[in-house]
């Protein structure tokens, strides 16, 4: 407002009521414009029905030892893996191996309320932490991993039986999906 200070309404160089009104009107206009723009920006955020789909229930009864299923949670796949005792043992032994994103296997089976889960059930978000591809499990034809867990075909990230990143460009372990046991044979994701 250089103009306002240099020349007032009567050329005296003093600030006047007019300057105040000018600034106040401008400020009110700016706030009004921002308030008008905001709904047009915010409408792109997830809608109420999209957010309402935020939980998925999965029955564990049908998943045999060594099997995994992909559940869909919020439009994204989630691995629900029934680990074999050998896989669990390997995951626990690797707790102290050289890890890019160190985490104990025990912490990776925890439920979303912080209480301990079950070692044989691993519930992971199925998107590679690099650029979001879905890694392949060991029984898949394209699997080229060396750690017995998952292998991402896009850029070669190699995950162990706990879903921890061991090799490749991914910066983080596969994220644990937030889940709770509803009873012994079913979980709710989200």
């Amino acid at each position: 407002m250089a103009e306002a200070t240099s020349s007032g309404a009567h050329g005296t160089g003093e600030t006047t009521r007019r300057d105040f009104i000018f600034i106040a009107a401008g400020a009110a206009g700016a706030v009004g414009a921002a308030a008008t723009i905001w709904p047009f920006v915010d409408q792109m955020n997830p809608a109420a029905d999209t957010r309402a789909m935020s939980t998925t229930e999965v029955s564990l009864a049908a998943i045999a030892v060594g099997q995994q299923i992909k559940a869909i949670w919020q439009g994204k796949p989630v691995f629900v893996r029934h680990r074999t005792p050998a896989e669990i043992a390997q995951a626990q032994r690797d707790d102290y191996a050289q890890l890019k994103d160190p985490q104990l296997d025990e912490d990776r089976t925890k439920q979303s309320n912080g209480s301990a889960g079950k070692a044989e059930w691993l519930i992971l978000q199925a998107n590679c932490t690099h650029l979001g591809c879905v890694p392949l499990p060991p029984d898949n034809p394209g699997f080229r991993g060396h750690f017995g867990g998952w292998f991402c075909p896009c850029h070669g990230s190699d995950y162990d039986t706990s879903g921890r990143i061991r090799q490749g460009p991914a910066p983080k372990n596969l994220y644990v999906a937030p889940y709770l046991y509803l009873n012994d044979t079913s979980i709710r994701i989200g």
């Binding site: 792109m44 955020n45 999209t50 994204k76 979001g132 591809c133 896009c154 850029h155 910066p171």
Partner: protein
């Protein structure tokens, strides 16, 4: 550049109109009388081709939108329907899909032309920046449009690119969800991508108007980079430039037609003929050819830079590689416009062109592919047969001290005569130590051409040794590998070196060639007098 208007209305109606809306005058001054340097070459015809591409994309796109359904269940089928059932749909869809590639092809030639002849230098900075803005909008439009057929590449391309946005520091996650309209690429994403894909070409058209306006204010550059000095150094745009543009554009349309009619799918990825599947990633994900160099730059960063993780670094570098174009007018310090008279800069420029193409090649390779290696993979196996093995427990006082405790225990076992020792960690502080005494120490080394072969040999050897030894020690030796990623890193380095170091320094230090008198002095102008 544009002097007083030379338009003279011929009929009563045009005189009447000219006083009310001088649109014919504007058109005449812009596209008929506009003075064009008489020495511009065929590299100057790509602007006309680009205008044509924009019109072709808008017209074919509007037609496609009449048949396309932006719905995740119907989108893929509706594109197939356009190709199979809609009258001439195969042609119009083919034109639109090939048109995107032709648009970028012409844009790249146009940009390299500007780079070589210094068309970004004063007073054409704003003209150049508007061009960069058009290019950025083209990238956005191309990406959005590629999502619409809802094939596997569409879906996973959108997933990867929106994940890239997620890597932006602090606000990335929110932006990612905001762009997607949910946690994942889904119906809201497709819907809005369609809406924006329809919008952006008109924004591009608007910026093109500004681009042309700026061009007509400062005038066209020319291969010498020397401004026309007299009226005689220029010719009217029509018919001279118009016909030349038309001729070049006809050749361009021939190429366009070859793709549309004989290989309409050659520039696309076959994976996009598989409907999008959110739980199954295709084995390889690549963008369309025109974005491959930037994809290579994105993937070149497989290392962390201090607090910036590898993914964020790649994203920042990718945005910077386009952003650097915007500030190019102030990076190049040379006062000579055309590289025709800059022998050193010319060589760096041609290296840059090759680097850009090689970056594109890298973008289409598997990043782990080895291009050259410094030697063989090798492994040495050590084991002891017929010895006495003793097992003991190691318990360290705390986790940080584990390594020291374990090393001490191993050293002690060796001091007591153990031929070999092995430590298997079992917890944060516990481990089992196996020490072998006596027996015969065996060793075997083998080599392989790649890591997988080596692992297979190690596994076979271990199975062969089997129970005859308590454990086998494996020492792997990986040679230096020159992978696609390393190559892309070198190329990325040159890309930024060219803009950020070579152009600024070269401009101050080089000795440009002398401009020949035939160019420096107007031949016709001298006899007829300067205007």
């Amino acid at each position: 550049m544009s002097g007083p208007s030379t338009y003279e209305p011929k009929s009563g109606f045009t005189r009447w109109l000219d006083r009310r809306l001088p649109i014919l005058r504007l058109s005449h001054d812009s596209f008929v009388a506009f003075p064009t340097p008489r020495n511009i070459n065929y590299w100057w015809t790509f602007g006309a081709m680009l205008s044509l591409c924009l019109v072709v994309q808008i017209v074919s796109g509007i037609v496609l939108a009449m048949h396309y359904q932006p719905n995740i269940h119907d989108a893929f089928a509706s594109v197939q329907r356009i190709q199979r059932d809609v009258p001439y749909g195969w042609l119009i869809q083919g034109i639109h899909a090939v048109g995107a590639s032709m648009f970028f092809l012409a844009a790249y030639v146009h940009m390299f032309r500007g780079l070589y002849y210094g068309s970004y230098k004063a007073p054409r900075e704003v003209l150049w920046i508007l061009g960069c803005l058009i290019y950025a909008l083209m990238i956005a439009t191309g990406f959005l449009g590629y999502t619409l057929p809802w094939g596997q590449m569409s879906f996973w391309g959108a997933t990867v690119i929106t994940n890239i946005l997620g890597a932006i520091p602090f606000v990335g996650e929110s932006i990612q969800v905001w762009i997607r309209g949910g946690g994942a690429i889904d119906q809201p994403t497709l819907n809005r991508f369609f809406s924006l894909h329809y919008l952006l070409p008109f924004v591009i058209a608007g910026v093109v108007v500004l681009h042309v306006w700026a061009l007509h204010e400062v005038g066209q550059n020319n291969p010498t980079g020397v401004e026309p000095k007299t009226k005689d150094d220029t010719v009217p745009f029509t018919p001279y430039a118009t016909i030349k543009d038309l001729f070049a554009t006809s050749l361009f349309m021939l190429l366009f037609a070859v793709f549309v009619f004989f290989m309409p799918r050659a520039l696309g990825d076959p994976a996009n003929f598989i409907p999008a599947n959110p739980v199954q990633t295709p084995n390889e994900i690549f963008p369309e050819w025109y974005l491959l160099p930037f994809y290579a730059i994105l993937r070149a960063f497989d290392f962390n830079i201090g607090p910036i993780d590898s993914r964020t670094a790649g994203v920042l570098a990718m945005f910077a590689s386009i952003g650097v174009l915007f500030i190019l007018p102030w990076l190049d310090t040379s006062r000579v416009r055309s590289m025709r008279y800059r022998p050193a800069a010319k060589q760096f420029f041609f290296i840059f062109v090759v680097v850009a193409i090689l970056l594109g090649w890298c973008g289409h390779q598997n990043p782990g592919t080895t291009l050259a290696k410094g030697g063989q993979f090798s492994a040495t196996l050590n084991w002891v047969t017929g010895g006495q093995s003793a097992t003991s427990q190691i318990v360290a006082p705390s986790a940080p001290e584990f390594q020291a405790t374990s090393d001490a225990a191993e050293a002690q076992a060796r001091a007591q005569g153990a031929a070999m020792t092995s430590v298997t960690r079992e917890g944060s502080v516990r481990a089992t130590l196996i020490a072998v005494t006596g027996g015969t120490r065996q060793t075997h080394t083998f080599t392989a051409d790649n890591a997988d072969d080596l692992e297979a040999q190690i596994t076979a050897a271990k199975a062969h040794i089997g129970g005859s030894a308590p454990f086998v020690q494996v020492i792997r030796n990986t040679p230096f590998l020159f992978t696609v990623t390393r190559f892309a890193q070198l190329l990325t380095f040159y890309y930024f070196l060219f803009f950020l170091v070579i152009l600024p320094i070269l401009g101050l230090r080089e000795t440009p060639n002398r401009v020949p008198d035939t160019i420096a002095k107007p031949v016709l102008g001298e006899t007829q007098g300067a205007s």
